[in-house]
């Protein structure tokens, strides 16, 4: 209702009326709205009239909520959302660039390597979002040239069935204990970027010995690490390794008997990245959207959907935050070959 009134009143230009209508709602609504209306970037974006998002970060539901919030805050910009798996979106974009097609304005995927490659071929445009100051310090200024920024924070951890497991394994190391033999489910690094990222991290921490011992536990290997939740809910296995943190919590909140542990030897953190294309047909709308990602609205949506927020001043769901966790992120310029090596080792040692 609130959006409807706002939009309608905006059309009639009744700013005073808007103040009266929204006055009774959240105190911050009015100033932010006024700021949106005066924003020269918004004016330029509105002139472009449209925005095309190619996004693989966040599942459909969260992504649609973000899109709808953007449309509500910035009426007059039509948003086209192409939501497919990160690697699919990226493969498509690559083919488009090779064919000289320029449809995409904003790209959002879960793999940093996509952006280093795009940057190398000059396909990205620098963006300096004003609200980037609110991003947690560790993830600010990922690229010195401002070609890409954080788009999502994703954590890989251990999940389990509370009814069937008295004490869940507190760490990655604990997963190697005898009691978990034949009880573990996980995803495949060949299919899931999150699991590939986990394999790289675990090899850095414990070497190939870990993978060897992990293979002896006879884990059930699905495709995506989302399958761990399915296996646990179905009762096929009781503990998930390399499991999705946010998604497990969503399922828990929905009433499903599942819970998550942040391992003592670090949850593995992977960043979703976003960038604006150099030949974006709607460059201003794309910049407006990038900045919008760091707004309180988006972080509230993320909080509601159990995702880590993109702002320091908005806590995660259930009062969690980055500071309360021990986490590790794979860094380095040479991640590509390391991922390939990890997958090869996995195939050799785990199956």
């Amino acid at each position: 209702m609130m959006e409807f009134s706002r939009r309608r009143l905006l059309q009639t230009g009744g700013l005073v009326g808007t103040a009266l209508v929204t006055g009774g709602l959240a105190g911050t609504a009015f100033p932010r709205f006024a700021a949106a209306a005066d924003d020269p970037l918004y004016a330029a974006a509105k002139k472009e009239g449209a925005l095309t998002l190619y996004w693989g970060s966040y599942e459909q539901q969260t992504m649609e909520a973000i899109r709808d919030a953007f449309k509500a805050k910035y009426p007059g910009i039509e948003v086209n959302l192409l939501r497919q798996a990160s690697q699919t979106v990226y493969t498509r974009l690559r083919m488009e660039l090779q064919s000289g097609v320029h449809e995409c304005d904003s790209l959002g995927t879960t793999n940093l390597l996509h952006y280093t490659e795009l940057k190398k071929i000059g396909a990205l445009a620098p963006v300096e979002p004003a609200d980037a100051v609110h991003i947690p310090d560790a993830f600010r200024n990922l690229d010195p040239d401002k070609m890409y920024h954080v788009g999502a924070i994703s954590l890989t951890s251990i999940n389990y069935a509370p009814g069937k497991v008295q004490t869940p394994p507190p760490s990655w190391q604990a997963l190697l204990e005898d009691q978990w033999h034949g009880k573990i489910t996980t995803g495949s690094p060949a299919f899931s970027g999150d699991v590939a990222n986990w394999v790289v991290a675990i090899r850095r921490k414990y070497g190939d010995d870990y993978l060897r011992a992990f293979g002896k536990q006879k884990p059930k290997v699905g495709q995506s690490n989302v399958d761990t939740v399915t296996d646990i809910l179905a009762g096929e296995r009781v503990v998930g390794s390399g499991a999705p943190f946010s998604y497990t919590l969503t399922q828990k909140a929905a009433g499903n008997p599942i819970d998550v542990v942040a391992p003592a030897d670090d949850a593995i953190l992977n960043l979703g990245i976003t960038g604006v294309l150099a030949k974006a047909p709607h460059p201003n709308a794309a910049r407006l959207f990038t900045n919008f990602l760091y707004s309180t609205e988006v972080s509230m949506i993320l909080q509601k959907n159990f995702w880590p927020t993109l702002r320091k001043d908005v806590p995660w769901a259930e009062g969690r935050s980055l500071d309360q966790l021990k986490w590790y992120r794979n860094t380095g310029d040479d991640l590509g070959p390391e991922v390939a090596e990890g997958i090869a080792k996995w195939k050799e040692l785990v199956r």
């Binding site: 083919m95 097609v101 290997v221 995506s224 096929e236």
Partner: protein
């Protein structure tokens, strides 16, 4: 004239059209030209890109034979090929082994509830096999599967699992039961159109029901049986969902899961993936060559303008046992998995198990009204599938006619071209279509037309194979009569052949419409936010782990398709009634029966 296996050279069929060839050169050239152009645009061009890609290096883009060399040098790439062949052969054996007897029971005997069995088999067809696999995971996962839980209550808690769906056997089972509808539909429409004199003759000479079936009826529909065997084989080769779900956990790689890995790599190895499809093409080409060897010198004409009696073979005491046997397929492919899916879709949170508090229509509400994307996707899915299926059946039938009647020099080349797309897994064809249609002068990227074209092309081989197997059963006499009375080729085709093909064309339409509506992979690089389809949403929900939504949307997709099939029911009866009356009228006076 209603004779089989006469070992006569097939020049008879070729002779029909030739004499009048020069009569309407312009119209004729226009039609053949249009068919050739369509085949070029739909198949040759995108496939050409795939082939071209396969000779290029993914990293440098340079010309290379390296991709092919890699296939034969690496055990890692050979093993999936071998596994895929095992899966494909077994799938085809199951599909034909169940589908053909089932088709015979439904089409030729007095089996009780024939229509119901037909509809239920079609229901199995509507089910995307990955949905079927999901249902069966709920039923037969070794620890948690409901059937295994039931087994443990009977055999004791310590008993091992009765069934393990995560195995090659499990994957073969699922691929097999969801491929039966292909062989069933193709063979039953051949049987439906068949004349009964030969069966009658066999019965008169003292042959029993079973013997008549095995020595007369089934051999008469050999073209349909072989065509459906090949299609089922290809299906087993190209399915992705089932091996991804059932074989990944056991560590058995197949071609399609390996292809998915090529796309998942960074940078994606799409040229390597193109090369990796070519062995599939080779194997399938061999199958077609074998088909030529088997069918080449025989004739299977059973429709030749004579009366087709509606008489059915009486099963006698075997009626009810046969009925229960015929129910087995729907039981394992529809009832059991959909019961599982329905239960999941009706729960708020499926991990809580079944209870009144947990029961909810929430996910149906969400799928229908809660999600702004769903509306467009449903409309798009229905619209694109309808257009694509129509285009596909029209083109497939005309090509089949040209090939069967050998109307132009090199007609069989048309047939070979029309068969290629189905062998190339959808995700690879998607890249081919992308490359072909994102550049001038044919820039169709982002338009619905491109999706319709890709869908029509992908399933053209089914329409062509189906059309061909029906045409093999229609004798050229009536066409010849029409031609000698002065009708042109076009008029003969429209006024004689098409009506004779009749209901077979409609079943052919569904045979492509249904796989199109549940196809995703060929669309994967072609859809845009405005041309999104239902299966993308289902896949995204699966990708996001939202199983309740996946199940609810699958049930909806099933209901929509079934509603369409039901709506088409009266249409089928209409066409078959017209056909019978047309056929009967001249036949009664002409033939002593």
């Amino acid at each position: 004239m209603g004779v089989i296996s006469t070992d006569s050279p097939d020049s008879a069929a070729a002779a029909i059209a030739r004499p009048a060839m020069a009569r309407v050169p312009l119209a004729r050239t226009a039609v053949f030209g249009a068919v050739a152009l369509l085949l070029f645009l739909l198949v040759v061009l995108p496939f050409g890109w795939v082939l071209n890609n396969s000779f290029h290096d993914d990293l440098t883009g340079a010309w290379t034979l390296g991709n092919y060399a890699r296939i034969f040098q690496s055990a890692d790439l050979l093993e999936p090929l071998f596994n895929s062949l095992v899966l494909a052969v077994a799938t085809a054996v199951i599909a034909v082994g169940i589908g053909v007897p089932l088709a015979w029971l439904v089409s030729r005997t007095d089996l009780p509830f024939r229509r119901t069995i037909r509809v239920l088999t079609l229901t199995a067809f509507v089910t995307p096999s990955f949905i079927g696999a999901t249902g069966w995971i709920l039923l037969a996962a070794p620890n948690s599967g409901w059937l295994n839980a039931l087994w443990r209550t009977l055999a004791g808690a310590e008993a091992g699992p009765l069934l393990n769906i995560y195995s090659m056997t499990g994957a073969i089972f699922i691929c097999g039961i969801y491929t039966v509808p292909y062989s069933f539909t193709m063979v039953s429409s051949a049987l439906d159109e068949m004349a009964v004199e030969l069966e009658d003759a066999a019965a008169t000479l003292g042959s029993g029901t079973l013997r008549t079936m095995l020595s007369i009826t089934i051999p008469l529909v050999t073209p349909a049986v072989i065509a459906s065997f090949i299609l089922s084989f290809i299906q087993g080769l190209t399915l992705f969902g089932v091996p991804a779900f059932l074989l990944t956990p056991t560590g058995i790689p197949v071609v399609t899961t390996k292809l998915a890995e090529f796309y998942q790599l960074f940078p994606p190895e799409i040229f390597m993936a193109a090369a990796y499809c070519m062995p599939l093409l080779l194997v399938t080409a061999m199958l077609f060559w074998m088909r030529r060897r088997i069918l080449g010198r025989k004739q299977f004409v059973t429709i030749s303008g004579k009366i087709r009696a509606g008489r059915r073979i009486a099963l006698g005491g075997a009626r009810w046992p046969a009925f229960f046997a015929a129910l087995l397929l729907p039981l394992v492919s529809v009832f059991l998995p959909y019961a599982a899916l329905l239960l999941v879709s009706l729960t708020r949170a499926w991990g809580q198990g079944l209870s009144w508090e947990n029961l909810s229509l929430h996910w149906y509400w969400w799928a229908l009204f809660g999600n702004s994307e769903t509306h467009t996707a449903i409309v798009n899915s229905l619209l694109f599938s309808t257009l694509a299926a129509t285009l596909c059946v029209m083109l497939g039938t005309v090509v089949a006619y040209i090939v069967e009647r050998k109307m132009v020099f090199g007609a069989s080349l048309f047939g070979a071209v029309a068969t290629v797309p189905i062998i190339i897994p959808g995700i690879v064809m998607s890249v081919g279509f992308f490359a072909a249609y994102t550049r001038a002068p044919l820039n169709l990227y982002g338009t619905p037309l491109l999706l319709v074209a890709a869908f029509a092309a992908t399933f053209l081989p089914i329409a062509y194979a189906h059309g061909g197997s029906i045409l093999k059963g229609i004798g050229p006499e009536l066409e010849r009569a029409a031609r000698s009375l002065g009708a042109g080729e076009g008029r003969t085709f429209l006024a004689i052949t098409i009506p004779l093909m009749g209901g077979g064309l409609l079943s052919g339409w569904f045979l492509v419409f249904i796989p199109i509506i549940r196809e995703l992979s060929v669309a994967v690089f072609l859809i845009t936010p405005k041309t999104n389809v239902m299966t993308t949403l289902i896949y995204n929900a699966k990708d996001g782990g939202n199983y309740e939504a996946v199940c609810a949307m699958s049930v909806l997709l099933l209901l929509i398709t079934l509603a369409l099939v039901a709506a088409a029911g009266p249409l089928t009866r209409l066409t078959s009634a017209r056909r019978t009356s047309r056929k009967t009228a001249p036949a009664e006076g002409a033939l002593p029966t």
